[in-house]
């Protein structure tokens, strides 16, 4: 008898505690985002597909077409092309394509770049309906972003 009463009282108390927790939640800010209207900001170390870093002064990609990234890529998903610059010194990037369907985001290309010209983007909204769409023209993307 005494046990039963004790059980009822402790049970009722624990129910009250539970209800207090939910009512407190009611007045706390929500943690979810309105997805299509808002999207989450990615943390600093998030690895999206790679993108070209631009020189803040000229607005042109920092890439010097050394091909280190292309060589470093184990999946062979990077291909780039350049031509002699008009000043006659160094090369200018003319095409940079990334086949994202092959990329495993290992980051060897970013590591291999000695000019900080490659970095991970924060893009995570990627969806394709055709295989060709997985091949990004990074040069174009860098210019659009600018």
């Amino acid at each position: 008898m005494r046990n039963t009463i004790q059980e009822i009282i402790s049970g009722a108390y624990s129910l009250a505690v539970g209800m207090k927790i939910t009512i407190c939640n009611l007045f706390r800010p929500t943690v979810t985002l309105h997805y299509p209207h808002e999207s989450a900001t990615m943390p600093a170390r998030f690895r999206g597909h790679v993108e070209l870093a631009c020189d803040p002064e000229t607005g042109k990609p920092k890439c010097v077409v050394c091909m280190a990234c292309q060589r470093a890529c184990p999946s062979g998903c990077i291909s780039l092309d350049g031509q002699k610059s008009e000043s006659g010194k160094g090369k200018v990037l003319t095409a940079y394509s990334l086949d994202f369907s092959l990329c495993s985001l290992c980051g060897l290309c970013v590591e291999s770049c000695k000019f900080d010209a490659l970095r991970f983007s924060k893009q995570y909204n990627l969806a394709f309906t055709r295989r060709e769409e997985c091949t990004f023209n990074l040069l174009e993307r860098a210019q659009v972003k600018k």
Binding site: M19, N25, L26, V31, H34
Partner: protein, 332 residues
């Protein structure tokens, strides 16, 4: 004579339309409150896209349910299958006839109002049983059987508690029960400790029984979606399911109305100022919110524990409550 007759007809039509509108409004907007509430309890947003703050969401839901095809599985008893949702919804609407929303706002002022409410409310389980049986589906059948066991178990303590209240009030007339509680919140039945010191406990037990009778979580054995697909509603689609849904919320509103009338002073103001239907609605919706709040706080109980709670705790305590009330009435 003729004028009176026309007026009476007009009154009936007005009340029928009014009650149907009230039921429809409550069913749709309590669903929205439930969805919004559940979202906020879990730190989500809930529906926000349809209309400002998602306020038109119930209309979208209703249109969706109305447009959906009603599937009738093989081997279903078609007549019973379609009768079940109506049998669940109709008694709940019928009971609204006698609920006193204000001093003069009640469709019919029955002498046996309380008895009528409980007589028809007991019908609800019958509809669910028929629905589960007619579905010809093992999950629906199991759920229907469980619901009957549950409703029988919880009808008894409900009625025992109500009997104790009726012993105090001395009448089945809901309007009169409210009138007796005039003059401030200490005159409400829940706080009439001079008549029965167990009155707050009785209210709490009534509330638990209300949750179980309306098949709400944590006692939602009828649906139990994690165990029995959708319980008795498994084979129902489109508006047949919609009617079951409406009935669930109408039953909640009805239960909260009766709780307000019996324990919380109906349309009486807590401080004796400006009594009126606004107080009734305020108390009723506060109770409805609590029902939703409870649902999103607690997990579903095990079936045996559910029955144990009723037979081992609620019924003995409510019997003791009756004896105590009788003693208090005799002694004082």
């Amino acid at each position: 004579m003729r004028m009176e007759f026309v007026l009476e007809i007009a009154r009936v039509v007005l009340y029928v339309v009014g009650i149907l509108a009230f039921v429809g409004f409550n069913a749709s907007y309590l669903v929205l409150l439930e969805r919004k509430g559940s979202a906020r309890f879990q730190l989500r947003h809930g529906p926000t896209e349809v209309g400002p703050f998602g306020l038109i969401q119930p209309v979208a839901d209703a249109v969706k349910l109305l447009c959906k095809q009603i599937l009738i599985p093989k081997n279903v008893d078609v007549i019973l299958f379609f009768m079940a949702p109506i049998l669940v919804l109709l008694p709940a609407i019928l009971c609204m006839v006698t609920i006193p929303f204000g001093a003069t706002i009640a469709a019919r002022n029955f002498n046996l109002g309380l008895l009528m409410v409980f007589a028809f409310a007991a019908f609800n389980v019958f509809g669910i049983l028929i629905g589960g049986w007619a579905s010809h589906n093992k999950y629906a059948n199991l759920a229907a059987a469980r619901v009957v066991a549950q409703n029988i178990a919880y009808e008894i303590p409900t009625l025992l508690i109500v009997v104790a209240v009726v012993m105090v009030t001395g009448t089945f007339n809901l309007q009169e029960i409210v009138a007796q509680q005039a003059g401030g919140f200490w005159r409400w039945n829940i706080l009439r400790l001079d008549l029965n010191p167990l009155q707050p406990v009785a209210f709490l037990m009534y509330f638990i029984c209300l949750l179980a009778e309306t098949n709400r979580a944590p006692f939602d054995m009828v649906e139990a979606e994690s165990e029995l697909v959708a319980g008795a509603y498994t084979e129902y689609s489109g508006m047949t399911f919609g009617v079951f849904f409406m009935a669930e919320y109408t039953n909640i509103v009805l239960g909260c109305c009766v709780a307000t009338v019996l324990f919380l002073g109906g349309w009486q103001c807590p401080f004796g100022l400006v009594p009126g239907p606004h107080w009734f609605l305020l108390k009723m919706y506060a109770l409805c919110f609590t029902v939703i709040w409870v649902r999103w706080s607690f997990p579903r109980v095990q079936f045996y524990n559910l029955l144990n709670l009723s037979w081992k705790i609620l019924i003995p305590v409510s019997l003791a409550n009756i004896i105590l009330t009788a003693l208090m009435l005799k002694v004082f």
